[in-house]
Amino acid sequence: MNKLKKQLLAGPYLVWIIGFILLPFLMIVYYAFTNADGGFTMEYLAAVLDANNRKALFLSLELGVICTVLCLLISYPLAMILNGMNIKNQSLVVFLFMLPMWMNFMLRILAWKLLLSKNGVINSFLSLFGFPGVYILNTPAAVVFGMVYDFLPFMLLPVYNSMTRIRKDWLEAAQDLGAGHLAIFFKIILPLTVSGIISGVVMVFVPSLTSFAISEVLGGGKVLLIGNIIEQDFMQGMQWNAGSGLSLVLMVFVIISMALMNLFDKEGEGTAIW
């Protein structure tokens, strides 16, 4: 009896789930499978194969993968160095590397726009020493730059966390048994941080695949990602059905990366993100 009463407390949340989680999701599905007159159609799902959408999707996947790989390549050594540091205030140092995350997301992108523009800070600095300038603003490279900057902490934290769990005695034991640095890295450190890497990968890949604001600001209207097409379909083109179709396709990729993560994180290691 008491248990039943307690369960009733979840009632408001049940209403919320139905009203604001399931219903909106069904709306997307409905729009994706109907045309403007309300008739059933597959055309909007198939539209992902249109030249424009396909290009944008491939570009998004490409940039997402590049961004994820870069984040991993930067974060992994960083996490190792931070973890290996033998100083009193290690947490403060790690904190310093997380601090930029506390800035508003939009402001961080704005800063890169200022830095990278043709007569911007970096180029003025380079020309001072007679170096050639860097002209990557309004190209996919600038978008990747912005993404890496924005999402780096999402990778650094899980990797660092999984690394702090490796006990020093294990490494020492391996050393005592004659393992070299490489062997220790590949036989101990890497396997023990896999779950951290996977959650970092998903955490970076999903937002970089679906982002539209970063490409909007740093791409100068020349970089069209799948997120931008969806945004335009909804906010400018009045093509809600088409936008919903693409959103559903996008969800497929999100679900695939989630499934991938669960595969590697069977035991709920605790470093997973979602």
Binding site: I17, I21, I28, F97, M98, M106, L110, T210, G237, I273
Partner: protein, 648 residues
């Protein structure tokens, strides 16, 4: 030793990468110069401006309101739900937790869109819809924070309390509540943090006149960069920095939590989260890293917020709350109405203005047609008004209620005949041309007499084209010898071909940003509207404006009253106010396009009046063509071709 040096170098490099952008923002917030990225002297003016700026402050206030309301409500619903879920059998619990995961896992853009579709179907977008959306993505964080605490709470103590005669409620508050309180609290803090930083979901669910800091920044970023925003970011950053350091130093004195704990969590002084077990284990533990990550951020957010409440009090005492309850919702181009003039209208008439902006006519059309917001009066371009009049969406105006309409130049009113032949629907607001803004240091003045200069390759990598779809095609159509109103598919495809050829040479497609980019001399040529050109020329004397001899687009923006108008009388008062000489002058000074008010031209000095960018001559006007409405089919074709161009 070498290894250590390499490590240090690596740390230093990453450190620079992370802090360089922030340093730039901080330095620029003290820079006197507005548009250039050049140091021209130290000033604190932008800080004063930032706190005086009503837009920034009201976005700040909205952000805080949404954040707090959403965090409180989601904490209540989430905590109750967690208690309920913990009492459930395995199966229903799995279902609940599965549903809880959806907003957590999904891409922000998809969550935002799905909510928008729902809201638009059943209600209007506004403050409440943003609030509901925020509560929705906040609840999972609360549940995932409270649930492990409930698992850990001893059931036997609770049952013992019951056995000893305590009522269930009493037992709950005496026994269980203190145990789950830390979880509730960190859930609340997480909700605060997630709400504060959200952009995508707010962007899709917000209504007219509602802006949070993130959405305001997004709009501002596209328009051009204002130093007030550097000041704002500096203030926010240093507040957070000081708080974090304080918290960090403080928590170091307390006994360190279990080894291997997330540093962020430790710093925040949050109690060590218990290891969950059972079916909830995976969900809960998986949210842990993210939780730890945000936990510290949350603490300072709260303190930041409480600091801000003080400044809010000042804000509210400064802006008199307008009574009477009359409100009109105005939709206008970005940066197209003097903010002070808008404020004065509210003060003079007691009518509150919900002001909403958009970038191009197609976006306006979508916003209006979406029906998510009932607009009372809209300003847009001639061809879009023509389309809406054809569709029967426009109401006739009662000009007897707009006495100041007489102040407009009859010649300009005549120009509106293409879309309003009987002059009964519209009040012209500004007009101007599309042309080439160029840097005289880099560009030969002879070249820009023709649109050919956009294709001759001389200015490769240094050209900014417009991204307003029809204006983007106009130069290509003119160059090919077609009318800018041509809708023949083959002709448009031809235009697309030459635009594609040009694409590698184009440095960016912008609308409002063009002006600032040209002032900063980031490009040699920018295709833009006359008013932007005039303003840029006033800021940088190396710039000049040319309307190519083949002709160009002459555009007229007018106000009209859509069918959704709910308060016609207030709209007439608004339009009357807009036509008043002093208001027309204020708006002219602000946007620098050509005003149809005779008094504005009369008040100009000779040099300004001669300036083609500010005041196109009759000869120029004859050369130019006005856009006509497109059928849905042609508009769709334009859209597809445009996407093809930029995904090139």
């Amino acid at each position: 030793m070498v290894k250590k040096g390499v490590s240090r170098l690596y740390l230093a490099l990453i450190f620079c990468f992370l802090y360089l952008p922030i340093a730039v923002l901080v330095v620029l917030s003290f820079n006197r110069s507005k548009s250039h990225v050049v140091w021209t002297g130290f000033t604190l003016d932008w800080y004063a401006e930032c706190f005086r700026n009503q837009n920034i402050m009201s976005a700040f206030a909205t952000t805080l309101e949404i954040t707090f309301a959403a965090a409180v409500l989601s904490t209540i619903i989430g905590t109750l739900a967690a208690i309920g879920i913990s009492a459930m059998k395995r199966r229903s619990r799995t279902i609940y937790l599965g549903a809880t995961n959806i907003p957590l896992l999904n891409a922000d853009i998809v969550t935002g869109i799905s909510m928008m579709l729902l809201f638009v179907r059943f209600t209007n977008l506004g403050f409440v819809t943003v609030l509901i959306a925020h509560i929705t993505f906040n609840i999972p964080y609360v549940i995932l924070n409270v649930l492990p605490r409930l698992k850990q709470a001893s059931r036997y103590t609770y049952e013992a309390a019951l056995d000893l005669g305590a009522g269930p409620l009493y037992a709950f508050f005496k026994v269980t509540w203190p145990e789950i309180l830390p979880g509730v609290f960190s859930g609340f803090l997480m909700a605060v943090t997630m709400s504060l930083d959200d952009f995508s979901i707010t962007y899709f669910t917000k209504g007219a006149g509602i802006n949070t800091l993130s959405t305001m920044l997004y709009a501002e970023l596209r328009k051009g960069i204002r130093p007030e925003l550097y000041a704002l970011s500096t203030v926010l950053f240093f507040t957070v920095l000081l708080l974090l350091i304080a918290i960090n130093l403080n928590s170091d004195k307390t006994p360190a939590p279990a080894a291997g704990k997330a540093v962020a969590n430790k710093g925040a002084g949050l109690p060590d989260a218990p290891r969950p077990n059972g079916t909830a284990k995976q969900f809960v533990s998986s949210a842990k890293t993210r939780r730890a990550f945000y936990a510290k951020r949350a603490v300072c957010a709260v303190i930041l917020v409480s600091l801000a409440v003080g400044s809010l009090a000042v804000l509210f005492s400064a802006s008199p709350l307008i009574s009477g309850g009359q409100t009109i919702t105005v939709l206008n181009y970005g940066q197209y109405f003097d903010e002070d003039a808008l404020r004065r209208f509210e003060e003079e008439t007691g009518i509150r203005v919900n002001y909403e902006e958009y970038d191009d006519p197609e976006e306006m059309y979508t916003k209006y047609k979406a029906g998510a917001i009932d607009y009372d009066v809209i300003c847009t371009s001639e061809y879009m008004i023509e389309k809406l009049i054809q569709e029967g969406e426009v109401l006739e105006l009662d000009f007897s209620a707009i006495p100041n309409y007489a102040a407009l130049d009859p010649n300009i009113i005549e120009m509106t005949s293409s879309y309003d032949p009987e002059h009964k629907y519209t009040v012209p607001y500004f007009y101007g041309t599309l042309g080439i803004l160029y840097n005289t240091k880099l560009v030969d003045a002879e070249d820009v007499k023709s649109w050919d200069c956009l294709w001759n390759g001389k200015y490769a990598g240094s050209m900014i084209m417009t991204r307003s779809v029809r204006d983007a095609f106009a130069p290509a159509l003119i160059t090919l010898g077609y009318s800018i109103n041509d809708t023949d598919k083959d002709h448009l495809l031809e235009a697309l071909e030459i635009l594609k050829d040009q694409n590698p040479d184009v440095s960016a497609y912008y609308v409002d940003e063009t002006r600032d980019e040209m002032i900063a001399e980031n490009a040699a040529i920018g295709v833009c509207y006359s008013g932007d050109a005039g303003e840029a020329m006033a800021e940088n004397e190396n710039l000049a404006y040319s309307i190519p001899e083949e002709g160009s687009n002459l555009w007229i923006d007018s106000w009209f009253m859509p069918k959704t108008c709910k308060n016609q009388e207030a709209v007439f008062r608004f339009l009357d106010y807009v036509c008043r000489d002093d208001v027309a002058q204020a708006n002219f000074d602000y946007v620098y396009y050509t005003s149809p008010n005779r008094s504005v031209a009369a008040g100009m000095d000779a040099e300004t009046r001669e300036n083609e960018a500010v005041n196109p001559s009759e000869e120029t006007i004859r050369r130019c063509e006005v856009f006509r409405a497109l059928s849905d089919e042609s508009a769709g074709l334009y859209n597809t071709l445009w996407q093809e161009l930029i995904s090139n």
